[in-house]
Each structure stands twice: as structure tokens, then as C-alpha cells.
């Protein structure tokens, strides 16, 4: 069966709705519960399109953190997108600028993961095929994110208090972290992040989290460098 790259992208993007729809709806519910008007909730999902950083921004605004720190903390969550951007360059770096500009807008976890994996399998695809596949993956994923945010925001005010919704946000973050713990370096970084954030919780303006994140980044990179330098299982105590 021969399918065009675009239709293949649409078909492979569809299963991700199972993740996008509940997550978007959760953001809508929590945004409205936090006191944001629906227009601002939608503003986040349309202009930022990055679930984890949107949740971060709302949580920090509730914590009465200054605006600059809200933006910096939420942006730090998104720095991985720069890595996605870099990973796409060898495949579609030769596409016209307007196409690359649009791809950058739709470059989220799901479209990135699908595309890079497909590009590695389909070495016969040209640049236009690769762009078409990416557009296909974005077609179901983006409207689902925006639409489910809207549904969640509209329903938000009707969710009963007994549901302990305060726990939904930590739960959503935790659920994101589990699948990220792929290597020893990832686990080490996460550990330093937790210990650092708890130990530095007294630092004003949430800067403790930023400091903990920087220490965790350095830990992850250093553990990776050491494990790559030596065969696994032969680490020495330092």
C-alpha cells in the first residue's frame, strides 16, 4: 500500500489525540479554575502551544511570582524545543524559509517525535515529502490541542470541588516525567532537580527552581559525558 507522505503523517498523528485531548482539557479546566478568562486560556494554547510550560506559567502566577520569573521558568521548560529544532535541520533545512517558519510554530513533542522517526525510516523521501509528512502530523494534533483546551475551559467552572483538582497539576507533571527517565543521566538530573528545589524553596521569586534546574542540567550532562567515556558497568567511585 502506497500512501502519500501527507496522508501517512495524518494517520500516524491521529493516535496522539489520546494524549492531547485530556491534557488540553485539563489545561482549560485548571486555567479557568485559577481565575483566567477563557480568552486568556485560549491565548496560551494558541500562542504558546506547549502544555508543560503553560501549566508552569499558571501555577507560578497563582504563587504570586513576578512576571519576569513566570516567563523565564516557563521558558526553561521549553528549552528542549531548541533541541528539536536542531534535530530537524538535517532533514528539512533546505526547505523554503516560509515553510520552516510554519514548521517551527507547529514543532511540539508529538510532531517532532513522529517526524524524526519517520525521516530515519524513509531515506528515499525528498525535502518536499518530509515537509508534507510533518504537515500531516500537525493536522490532527494542533486542532485537538486548541479544541480540547476550549472544551475544558467551558466545562471548568462546573467541576465539583471534591475532585481534589489541586492534585491534577502535579499529577500531570509527574506523568510527563516518568517516560523521560530513559537513562541513568536522566534519573540523576531529575534527582538533583527534586532535592535542589526542595532545599532551595526559601529562595524568593521561585529562583530556587531555576538554580535547581541549572544544577540538574549540569548533572545530566556530566553523567552522560562520564558514562559515554567508559563502558557501562565499569564506573569507578570518585
Amino acid at each position: 500500500m502506497v500512501r502519500s507522505p501527507f496522508r501517512r503523517g495524518v494517520a500516524e498523528g491521529l493516535p496522539f489525540l489520546v494524549i492531547m485531548v485530556p491534557f488540553g482539557a485539563l489545561f482549560g479546566v485548571l486555567g479557568v479554575e485559577a481565575g483566567l478568562p477563557i480568552a486568556q486560556v485560549m491565548g496560551f494554547s494558541v500562542l504558546v502551544i506547549a502544555g508543560a510550560s503553560q501549566f508552569t506559567a499558571v501555577q507560578l502566577m497563582l504563587d504570586s511570582v513576578p512576571a519576569v520569573i513566570v516567563v523565564l521558568s516557563a521558558l526553561a521548560v521549553n528549552l528542549r524545543m531548541a533541541m528539536y529544532s536542531a534535530a530537524m535541520v538535517p532533514h528539512i533545512g533546505a526547505a523554503p524559509l516560509w515553510q520552516r517558519s510554519l514548521i517551527a510554530y507547529f514543532l511540539v513533542d508529538q510532531t517532532y517525535a513522529l517526524s524524526v522517526s519517520a525521516y530515519e525510516d524513509r531515506v528515499d523521501w525528498g525535502v518536499a515529502d518530509k515537509v508534507a509528512y510533518f504537515a500531516g502530523t500537525a493536522l490532527p494534533v494542533f486542532p485537538a490541542w486548541v479544541g480540547s483546551t476550549f472544551v475544558g475551559a467551558v466545562l471548568g467552572a462546573r467541576v465539583p470541588d471534591e475532585w481534589a483538582l489541586d492534585f491534577a497539576l502535579p499529577l500531570a507533571f509527574l506523568a510527563l516525567v516518568g517516560p523521560l527517565l530513559k537513562t541513568r543521566a536522566h534519573v540523576a538530573a531529575a534527582f538533583v532537580s527534586v532535592v535542589g528545589a526542595l532545599a532551595l524553596v526559601w529562595v524568593p521569586w521561585n529562583l530556587g527552581l531555576i538554580l535547581a534546574a541549572i544544577l540538574a542540567l549540569m548533572t545530566g550532562a556530566e553523567v552522560e559525558r562520564r558514562t559515554a567515556a567508559r563502558p557501562v558497568g565499569t564506573e569507578q567511585r570518585t
Partner: protein
């Protein structure tokens, strides 16, 4: 530096700033750097942004939840451990959320 009034115009400022900066994060290599190779140390650090920020963000919310006035709550700790464990084991965000929510709901119900 003063906090942002929830629902006020300052929130639009945050949305705009975050939107533009997030877009630039996605655009930086695709649009500007192009085909030039990136230094290994930079990529090595970028790989850990998710695990460096998210666990630290969530840890105080779980250990000292606002809903209990900052008191440690065994139910929330257990539900969190289950969600994290299922996420590591199944590599699936949705299954982890469902497992954590079920444990939270079930234990709260048992606890009256």
C-alpha cells in the same frame, strides 16, 4: 517586582512574551543556524531540560500541598509514587495520569 493579577492585562503580557520566546526557541536552529553543526556540549545540556525543570517544579507541590495547608499528605505521596512508577514502567503519559488519579480518588474515598 510585583506579582501578576490573575485575569488582568498583565497575563496577556506573559502570554505574548512566552509565545514569542517559545516560538524563537523552536525557530532558532531551523531558521537561523541552518546546516551548521552544533557543539556537543550544548546538545548534551539541552537533552536534560525536561528532567531538570519538571521534577523540581512538582516536588514542593506534592510534599507541601497548598490544599492541606502545607501539611504532608500520605495519600498524595502514594498517588504521586504510583503515577511516577507507572510512567517509568509503561512509558505512557495517559496511563500514568489515570493510575495516579485512581489511587488518589480511591484512597481519599476510603479515608472518608
Amino acid at each position: 517586582m510585583s506579582p501578576v493579577e490573575i485575569g488582568g492585562p498583565g497575563v496577556w503580557g506573559i502570554i505574548a512574551a512566552l509565545g514569542v520566546l517559545t516560538y524563537l526557541t523552536r525557530f532558532v536552529f531551523l531558521g537561523i543556524v541552518g546546516d551548521r553543526p552544533l557543539p556537543g556540549w550544548l546538545l548534551r545540556h539541552l537533552r536534560y531540560t525536561g528532567v531538570a525543570v519538571l521534577p523540581g517544579l512538582v516536588a514542593p507541590l506534592i510534599v507541601w500541598p497548598a490544599a492541606t495547608g502545607g501539611e504532608m499528605d500520605p495519600i498524595r505521596l502514594i498517588a504521586s509514587a504510583v503515577a511516577l512508577g507507572v510512567g517509568v514502567w509503561r512509558k505512557d503519559v495517559v496511563q500514568a495520569v489515570v493510575a495516579g488519579a485512581l489511587v488518589m480518588g480511591g484512597l481519599s474515598w476510603l479515608n472518608g
